[in-house]
């Protein structure tokens, strides 16, 4: 058996300690919150340390940090299972209590079982869940192509209608700031599409002038996007990154405990 330092440490930190902590927590409630914090501290520290400590046991290809990434991929799969369990629990409860909108829960569960069933069937039969060797879609891909994709596209396409309506009703030059926003939006909307060429379609003699003006507008749009927008976006991204770093530090240091989902007194 390969007893590398990194591997053994990971097993102790993320397997033995949580299991021992779970059993101890049954008798000592105070430990219930401390063990997850302990796990959280090391799960946060190891990837950070791997950036600054270029040693094999932590940053090497089979070191603690890459191995933790591998575990995270596996954990993410289990998180999906947890999500499915949650969906089942909530919707079966809704159906059994005949709560408002319960027929939608029936549809949701049918969708879940049919799609999931086809996926599992594809996995077991070796057929897969994509396009079969003869070019025909597998049952899972069929559901994806003819149910899931049109439904999602339909919901998203409704945005165009609401955005147009909202722009007409709410986008008003009420004050200086709103006017600047309005002018910038109009310029970008004009510059991102060949609008002038479209307007000149009925008068072909105007086409060259429209193309020339459209090019100028395109350059102005690019400048707005690249310079004022780029600068503002950089500021927003840096601000958000600092916020995320401080939040991560709070989690690592055990100050932020909201993710534990503990109630009062825990």
């Amino acid at each position: 058996m390969n007893l590398e330092f990194g591997r053994v440490t990971l097993v102790i930190l993320f397997a033995i300690v949580p299991i021992v902590g779970f059993f101890l927590g049954l008798r000592a409630p105070a430990l219930r919150s401390r063990i997850p914090i302990f796990v959280g501290v090391f799960a946060g520290l190891i990837p950070i340390l791997s950036m600054y400590v270029p040693r094999k046991f932590i940053a090497g290809p089979t070191g603690m940090s890459p191995r933790l990434d591998q575990w995270l991929i596996i954990l993410a799969g289990f998180a999906l299972l947890l999500g499915i369990a949650n969906v089942l629990q909530n919707n079966t409860r809704k159906i059994s209590r005949r709560e408002k909108g319960w027929p939608f829960s029936v549809v949701l569960l049918i969708g879940l079982f049919v799609t999931g069933g086809f996926g599992i069937y594809g996995g077991i039969s070796g057929q897969g869940i994509g396009i079969a060797a003869d070019g025909t879609p597998t049952p899972f891909q069929y559901v994806t192509n003819w149910f899931f994709q049109p439904l999602q596209s339909t919901i998203f396409s409704l945005l165009a209608f609401f955005m147009a309506s909202a722009a007409f009703r709410a986008f008003r030059a009420r004050n200086t700031e709103a006017t600047i926003l309005l002018v910038a939006a109009v310029l970008i909307m004009m510059g991102r599409v060949p609008l002038l060429e479209l307007l000149a379609v009925p008068i072909p003699s105007l086409q060259p002038a429209a193309a020339f003006a459209s090019q100028g507008l395109g350059k102005l749009t690019e400048w707005i996007m690249q310079t004022p927008n780029g600068a503002a976006q950089a500021g927003i991204i840096i601000g958000a990154a600092l916020g995320a770093a401080s939040m991560a530090l709070r989690v690592i240091l055990g100050i932020e405990r909201g993710y534990l989902g503990l109630g009062k007194g825990d």
Binding site: P61, P66, D69, Q70, L72, I73, L75, A76, G77, L80, G126, G128, I129, G130, I131, G135, Q141, T144, N145, F148, Q149, Q152, S153, I155, F156, A160, F161, M163, A164, S165, A167, F168, R169, F171, R172, A173, L182, A185, V186, M189, M190, R192, V193, P194, L195, E197, L198, V201, A211, S214, Q215, G218, E222, M225, Q226, N229, G230, Q233, A234, I236
Partner: protein
């Protein structure tokens, strides 16, 4: 006149919905064929791929779902066509949970149908979907097989000819991510700094403004922003590859260039609505100020 403006301001929104429907649907049925001018970020993306050498490996990541497929599909297809014609080998993966894999499968099937000479496992490989995008990307930086032990058909990575000599992302020349969410940004923030691999992003138009900051800082080598970016890419491909010029002019399938007709008409309609709404609002405001005086 005042009555007219009042009616405009209080226009039933169902009329607006009808106008939007007509302005999008009509150009799809009767294409106008408006010209497409190219922008710097798209040209940079195109030229970067053009500068790669035959046999180089490119990773194309499907990080979007059906909700933004009309924007993202044409750009993913365009990049894949370019890779195939330049004889670059490409690895396909999907990291978006809500339908990314289905879209990747469809695009791969479409392109391999158009170019039947492409050999699965030799010229391209579809690795399929894996959950936990940030961890998957980081793992791919160290060991691709660690994140994707098999391809989408269940064939072990070690048995795939294309993957010989491609152990991790350091052997890949470029990541192209067609993205609708944060996943695209993670390629820039998580993978690029750690592995040093160049990244090109194909975001939806609504999220494109954010990526100008990354373009300015040099963390992105190019961007194909929204349907407009995809249409620009198609235009660049048409100019460089005669076979694609014929394809894009004759295909009955949806392309970004066709979609831009609808988008242009819709933008024009929204602009008209904006102008009308604001003129009516300003007149109303002036009238009420006069009445108060």
């Amino acid at each position: 006149m005042a009555g007219l403006f009042e009616r405009i301001v209080n226009l039933d929104r169902r009329w607006i919905f009808l106008i939007v429907l007509l302005s999008v649907a009509t150009p799809i049925v009767i294409p106008i064929g408006l010209p497409v001018t190219t922008t710097g970020p798209t040209r940079a993306a195109f030229e970067f791929i053009e500068a790669l050498h035959e046999g180089d490996v490119v990773l194309i990541s499907f990080d979007y779902g059906p909700s933004s497929a009309p924007e993202n599909d044409p750009m993913a297809e365009a990049v894949m066509r370019q890779c195939a014609l330049k004889k670059l080998r490409f690895i396909v993966c999907a990291l978006y949970p809500l339908g990314g894999l289905g879209l990747a499968n469809n695009v791969v099937a479409k392109i391999t149908g158009e170019l039947p000479n492409l050999r699965d496992g030799v010229d391209y490989v579809n690795l399929g979907y894996k959950d936990g995008p940030a961890a998957v990307m980081r793992r791919m930086g160290d060991d691709i097989a660690g994140a994707f032990p098999t391809d989408v058909h269940g064939k072990p990575i070690s048995e795939i000819p294309l993957m010989k000599g491609v152990h991790d992302l350091r052997q890949v020349k470029l990541v192209f991510t067609a993205a609708t969410s944060l996943i695209g940004e993670w390629w820039i923030t998580q993978v690029h700094p750690q592995v040093g691999i160049p990244v090109i992003i194909g975001p939806t138009a609504v999220s494109a403004p954010k990526y100008y900051a990354y373009l300015n800082s040099g963390q992105l080598v190019g961007m194909v922003g929204g349907m407009k970016g995809a249409a620009e890419y198609e235009s660049l491909l048409r100019a460089r590859y005669p076979q694609l010029a014929t394809f894009y002019t004759t295909t009955r399938a949806f392309t970004a260039t066709k979609g831009m007709d609808g988008q242009t008409v819709l933008h024009t309609v929204i602009l008209l609505l904006l102008v009308l709404g604001n003129v009516a609002y300003l007149r109303q405001r002036r009238a009420s100020a006069k009445a108060r005086a």
